[in-house]
Amino acid sequence: MHDISSSKQRPICAIVSLFSFLLVLSVSTFSVHAIESDTLTAQSFPEAVVADSIDENIAEPLLSTVTMDVDDLLTKMSMATNTLNYQSTLIVYRPGHEPIPYLWKHGIKDGQSVELLSELNGPNARIVRFGDQVSFLNPDMPAHSLQQSHIHGPFAHNLIRNPKLISEAYEVILVGKSRSAGKEAWQLRIVSRDNSRYHYILWMDAQSNLPLKLNTLNVKGELIEQVQATNLQISETLDADFAQLEKSGMPQIMHINPPKAFSLNWAINRLPVGMKKVKRDIHRLAITDDVVEYVLLSDGMVDVSVYLQKASFAQPDDVLFTKDAVTFLSRVNDPLQVSVIGKIPPATAQRILQMIESVDVPATVNP
């Protein structure tokens, strides 16, 4: 009896096994493709064809393909970030540190983009933006407003709003679809073209095109910072918080005089790919009142400060450390101290520091 029953089940088992084999083979093929795409090499994939493995149609998930252009995706993200009414809870995590939660809201009020970023822990620090007016409402400091186009939030501004500005320094590669914050998401790699900057992985909601997650990886591929949306809500109407807040109720804009262009008698003769000098001046540090000669570099994703000041004491060895993904490097070359600070690998900070050299400039100061 047992034998007869077994022999009857054999053809069914064979069919199930065959189907399983074909399924495993198909999945393996996709996995290999995914692993190959996952490498950090700066290959050119202007247009990626990826398997839509999270298709709602489960009957044939591996057969459907989606052709998606990276530039098209980034443009959609930029449009969505600037035009939708949404709110998102963001967690910023750095290994070894307590995660920092934020609430991020955006909407359109009277045809103007409005934005709110508030830290959910600690004092109720909030940053509110009405168009190009950004107000800082922090119980620990006097409320003030600046004329700014954006809030400096957890997601890199240019990546989500002006992705073209990072294209010289980074290549964006579409990896495929995955899942983040409970949503189907496009996964993109942002790879430094000359491997001298950190790499990033971005997840954007496949439906709304809003950013969901951003991992920052060091050159070894280790996570050094993560911005994760745990909740994303999109609505047709403006959030009630914005209805209560009025631009007229915000502090007056503090006008900042554009810095005078000084001729510094030093220059950085070679910069990493896509990195540009965006500012240079001479100013005083708020805490120590020291006068510093200053150059700000940017590649669109990260900003790097270079300081030159009079050394106050001997420092036989370089001071080098990384805190909150920010590298600090300082070298005293009597009588001067040179410091490089930014979200860049220590090796890149050292390279920038080594590229500093003195130049001959006229003694007069240019206005």
Binding site: M79, T83, R161, N162, I287, V319
Partner: protein, 60 residues
Amino acid sequence: VSLSQSRTIQTPEQQMNERQAVLEQRKRINALLVDHQQQIRLKAAIENVIEPKIEQVNPE
């Protein structure tokens, strides 16, 4: 067990000076880190970034 000591013993005054030098160095490093953050914030205030035209387009 050797009773010979190669390490020089610092006087309390020397120890205090060394401690003060370390504190001073930390203060200078902190001043630079704070200034760096401030410069990034101010950069947004002085640069003229042209934002995409705002149109309210919500998903269906």
